[in-house]
């Protein structure tokens, strides 16, 4: 009887584990964004976006993003902190603005658009060492 009961427990556990889950594969990625001189970009809005590339193989086309912290580190998630990024090809862009209401980008404009960014990455597994270098916005000539 002991054996039978433990079999039930195993069965219940197995069905609980198999029942849920599935869905497209995701990866947990993190890294660091710095200027050339090694200092992190700072702003009222300071975020990194992984935008699905036109030819991405990701089953779900949805950008993942994350705030760039004070030390330049970031963790990327799609909708909810911790949910990771759908594996596939991405164009990497950045938003560093004075404030959420601001019209001013504090980094070079080429990093803000998927068509001009120099960073195109393929995410296929977890990674915690992604490194990106950005340039500050050019000083406006008067």
């Amino acid at each position: 009887m002991q054996v039978v009961r433990s079999n039930f427990a195993v069965l219940a556990l197995a069905s609980a584990l198999i029942g849920c889950g599935g869905g497209p594969k995701t990866a947990q990625i993190s890294g660091r964004v710095l200027f050339k001189d090694g200092t992190p970009p700072k702003g009222g809005v300071c975020a990194i976006q992984f935008l699905p590339a036109a030819d991405t193989t990701a089953e779900i086309r949805k950008a993942a993003s994350g705030d760039i912290r004070e030390d330049g580190s970031f963790e990327v998630y799609t909708r909810k902190p911790g949910d990771g990024i759908f594996v596939g090809k991405y164009d990497v862009t950045f938003a560093v603005w004075e404030s959420p209401m601001s019209s001013k980008s504090l980094i070079d404009a080429k990093y803000t658009s998927p068509t001009t960014t120099p960073y195109h990455v393929t995410i296929d597994q977890d990674a915690d060492d992604l490194a990106f270098e950005v340039e500050p916005a050019a000083k406006v000539k008067r």
Partner: protein, 379 residues
């Protein structure tokens, strides 16, 4: 000899009968375990079926509200304005909050929702928050009217929509009934953006509104065609002006009622982002996409912003911007109901393409928000 044999026989028959009389403890435990497993398997299915029924209810309500708005359009040749306010009064108080709120789109649509009685209760010459501190007069009609629960505006999946909003700040007044539907005011902050272009764009993207830094657009509440919605502050589109096509442009989205009685989200008579309007809920902000779970996503009047509870419920918010930003949210697993400008309602997955925190404009979701964003701008 004979006596002992008889005794033995009696013993055996007793044992035999005894085994039919009751279950052993182990047998009982096994039966309970089996029942437990069966119930455990059944419960989620029952819960899912109940949620499916509630979801169907929310969907049909969205359809009814959208049809009421379209009927308003037929009668008035324009959609109702998302919110209304006295622009002249506001100009005179540049850089201060507008404290008197005019009628919003739901109030204007009431006669088309078979709510003529509630509509008649309002005194539309007075602010809707008429009894709030600093706005007070002895007329309490608007306070009574805005506290009316309107069944078609309540989605039963939302467990917070029966507790009224009592006012986060005193000039709001209290007694605001909840609502679960919000109109698309566009991809702009309501006013708060101070009419500046989003980084990477050339046209100022602003929508006039109470929190605007005094810069009101001269001709049209939407300066940017890319980001214009359909029902904004003191402005609305006619169906003709929805050049993207009415089937491709969002009219209404679901919203969730605030998590506390001092959280103004989901308040049907209040014309504010998160209360009855969606604003900057696509690219260029941090409330990007349905059920966006980013930190401080919605900019609304609320006392739960930044709390663990708000974060756990994916309802985090930011009070610094007052009420200028909010996205569409629901308690349904996996997505929200969206009514398009043709009156069709669909369940849209949370996985719709968006560009994340502060991402550049141009995703599938962005094009559903803009009512006049030309196809040519698709990247």
């Amino acid at each position: 000899m004979a006596a002992s044999q008889r005794h033995l026989h009696r013993m055996e028959s007793f044992r035999l009968r005894r085994s039919h009389l009751a279950f052993t403890l182990v047998e009982l435990l096994v039966v309970i375990a089996i029942i437990g497993v069966l119930v455990a398997l059944l419960l989620p299915a029952v819960q899912a079926a109940r949620e499916a029924a509630r979801r169907a209810h929310c969907q049909s309500s969205a359809k009814n509200v959208a049809l009421a708005v379209l009927n308003y359009e037929s009668a008035n040749k324009k959609l109702p304005v998302g919110m209304s306010f006295n622009a002249a009064q506001y100009r005179a108080n540049v850089h201060t909050q507008l404290k008197e709120y005019g009628p919003n789109w739901i109030i204007y649509a009431l006669p088309f929702l078979e709510q003529q009685a509630t509509f008649s209760k309002f005194n539309l010459k007075l602010p809707i928050n008429n009894d709030g501190a600093g706005v007070s007069t002895s007329d309490v009609r608007n306070r009574e009217a805005r506290g009316t629960e309107i069944p078609v505006l309540l989605c039963p999946s939302d467990s917070n929509n029966r507790a009224k909003y009592v006012g986060k700040i005193t000039f709001h007044g209290d007694n605001w009934a909840r609502g679960n539907y919000a109109a698309n005011s566009g991809g702009n902050f309501i006013g708060g953006g101070g009419c500046s272009a989003r980084p990477g764009e050339t046209i100022p993207a602003c929508t006039a509104g109470p929190e605007a830094n005094g810069t009101l657009p001269t001709d049209d509440g939407w300066t940017s065609d890319l980001r214009r919605g359909v029902m904004g502050p003191n402005i609305s589109a006619s169906l003709k002006q929805i050049t993207d096509g009415t089937t491709k442009t969002i009219m209404l989205g679901e919203i969730r009622a605030g998590l506390s009685e001092k959280d103004a989200r989901g308040t049907w008579a209040m014309g504010h982002a998160g209360s009855s309007l969606l604003a900057i809920f696509g690219s260029g902000g941090d409330a990007n996409g349905p059920n966006a779970c980013y930190p401080s996503a919605d900019d609304v009047y609320s006392d739960v912003c930044g709390t663990e509870k708000a974060k756990a419920e994916c309802m985090d918010c930011f009070t610094g911007g007052a009420a200028d930003q909010a996205t569409t949210r629901s308690s349904h697993p996996g997505g929200v109901h969206i009514a398009m400008c043709d009156g069709s309602v669909s369940f849209l997955s949370d996985n719709v393409e968006t560009s994340g925190i502060g991402g550049p404009w141009g995703t599938a979701w962005d094009y559903m928000i803009g009512s006049a964003d030309a196809e040519a701008t698709i990247r």
